[in-house]
């Protein structure tokens, strides 16, 4: 069957067109429930909902907001037992990558899960989205910005999104495509996997023809973002040293929120929340005597470096840690360079290949020989 089809957009209502498509999936029983973002009653922000009643569906698939890690939500739903009924999950590309990592780490089960990936235009922080300064609402703003090919929305994007060079979903079953499309008229619906093909096969839709245009658009976009990413890393790590690193976390209040919102940090009890580092009064005094003084609560740099060591190879650079930080520490300034360098070292791309194991559980006998020799 034809894998790439188009949804015809009526009255330039992109969101409505996708919602009709999703409603159809629910009504036809091809999926029993759908995890998708929908406006909360105050309409201030959108949040993921698990929806089974098609009449109540009012999804905001293109809302430029990632309030919480949706991959972690899929993990929460499926980790004890896979779903018996087909469950659709609409995810940002970074969250699909994170979900694949969680599957590798035995924290999620993709049986009966239909991943619907959406071309990502980038997301705003929760606060920017809730108190959006422009006259239009954020969804119309970013879609209009995309239609007119301008970059006015970049000033509102989270820093992780500005330098994201993976805005096209990989490992999805179905892709809802915007890039290279004239979205006043049509949106791409692409079946990627077998289960995606099964769902789309009897939908009467036109075949997508302008494949070249989309491919060219994506190539240019990724090329452009890759350059931005390289410049970002150069800028942030060019002058980094012990002085700047230790003062980087000065505002940290040890709330561990970056860990709680991270899609990759899945440990039910984190080492840093445990009593491993608790000690008797005498030991605190002794530590104070060795340096003369020390800041409390202590071990904040140890927490960040330790957490980084544990999760960085699976880091999908979604930037939720930065969005979750109550003190607005620009965590991506260190996590993006660290992730890029470490993943390059192990030639590992998180979320890319479902069958590839995470680097820390495998080894080759003939690798890194020099490390233990001299």
């Amino acid at each position: 069957m034809v894998k790439q089809k188009i949804l015809e957009v009526k009255n330039s209502d992109v969101t409505g067109t996708v919602n009709d498509f999703l409603k159809n999936l629910l009504k036809s029983g091809k999926i029993s429930a759908l995890l998708v973002s929908q406006s909360v009653p105050s309409r201030k922000v959108v949040f993921p909902v698990l929806i089974s009643d098609p009449d109540k569906l009012d999804a905001k698939v293109f809302a430029p907001l990632l309030p919480a890690s949706t991959s972690k939500i899929v993990s929460k739903i499926t980790k004890f037992q896979p779903s018996d009924k087909p469950l659709g999950v609409v995810l940002h590309p970074c969250q699909i990558r994170a979900l694949i990592e969680l599957v590798k780490l035995n924290q999620a089960n993709l049986n009966n899960i239909i991943i619907i990936g959406v071309d990502c235009l980038g997301t705003f922080s929760l606060n920017t989205y809730a108190d959006f300064p422009e006259k239009k609402n954020p969804i119309d703003f970013i879609l209009d910005d995309f239609k007119s090919n301008s970059d006015k929305s970049e000033q509102f994007l989270r820093s992780a999104c500005v330098v994201c060079n993976q805005p096209v979903p990989i490992n999805a079953d179905i892709i809802i495509g915007l890039f290279g499309m004239d979205i006043n008229k049509e949106i791409l619906i692409e079946a990627v996997s077998d289960s995606g093909i099964k769902i789309l096969e009897d939908l009467k839709l036109d075949t997508f023809k302008d494949v070249k245009k989309r491919e060219k658009y994506i190539e240019d976009l990724i090329g452009n973002r890759t350059k931005k990413l390289a410049a970002f890393i150069k800028d942030k790590t060019g002058n980094i040293d012990i002085e700047s690193l230790t003062s980087f976390f000065d505002k940290c209040v040890n709330c561990h929120n970056c860990m709680n919102v991270c899609p990759i940090c899945y440990c039910r009890e984190c080492l840093f929340d445990s009593s491993v580092f608790d000690a008797e009064a005498n030991k605190y005094v002794k530590k104070s005597e060795s340096k003369g003084l020390f800041k409390l609560p202590n071990d904040s740099l140890l927490f960040h470096l330790g957490r980084m060591n544990h999760m960085i190879l699976s880091c999908v650079k979604c930037g939720l840690c930065e969005q979750g930080c109550p003190m607005n520490i620009a965590l991506m300034d260190v996590f993006i360079p660290a992730a890029e360098n470490a993943q390059k070292e192990f030639k590992y791309q998180p979320g890319k290949n479902r069958d590839e194991k995470v680097p820390m559980v495998v080894y080759r006998e003939d690798e890194y020989v020099e490390v233990g020799e001299k």
């Binding site: 980094i240 340096k291 660290a338 470490a342 192990f346 080894y363």
Partner: protein, 148 residues
């Protein structure tokens, strides 16, 4: 000031924390001792069951608490008592050193070496080598940071 600094560096005796695996490196250190081979007393040895059980956390904590160097000793590749612990330790060390380098910290302060139970002389030589190297690097600048 400069003279004072030089004096400090001349008298600088590095503190090295060593994680030695029970089956090879710890026995190697033991052999160095029973064979009365002299080596610098800068290392503080912690016996662990396997180099593969040394989480990067322990190494980082030692560095941040003020150790001037951290040494991890394991069995030679292929000789691990638990079959592949040292291969995993090696990967972890590569990751840790990569992160330290990205963040502008000195990865030269963290070493991993393979020393078998029969290599008392190699243990002593490695300790000499590492102590000299850390002396050249000077005191760990993090040890003076109280705001971390």
């Amino acid at each position: 000031m400069n003279d004072e600094k030089k004096d400090i560096e001349k008298d600088f005796e590095p503190k090295i924390v060593g994680f030695l695996c029970n089956w090879c490196s710890y026995a190697g250190a033991d052999l160095a001792g029973t064979s009365r081979i002299q080596y610098p007393p800068n290392i503080r040895i912690i016996r662990v069951m396997c180099s593969g059980s040394v989480d990067s956390m322990y190494i980082l904590r030692a560095l941040l608490e003020g150790a001037d160097g951290v040494f991890v000793g394991g069995c030679h590749p292929g000789d691990c008592h638990y079959i592949d612990g040292n291969y995993k330790a090696r990967r972890r060390m590569v990751l840790l050193q990569n992160i330290l380098a990205t963040l502008g910290l000195e990865k030269e302060r963290v070493w991993i070496r393979w020393i078998s139970a029969s290599e008392g002389q190699k243990f002593a030589d490695t300790m000499k080598e590492m102590t000299e190297a850390i002396k050249k690097l000077g005191p760990n600048p993090i040890s003076k940071k109280w705001n971390i």
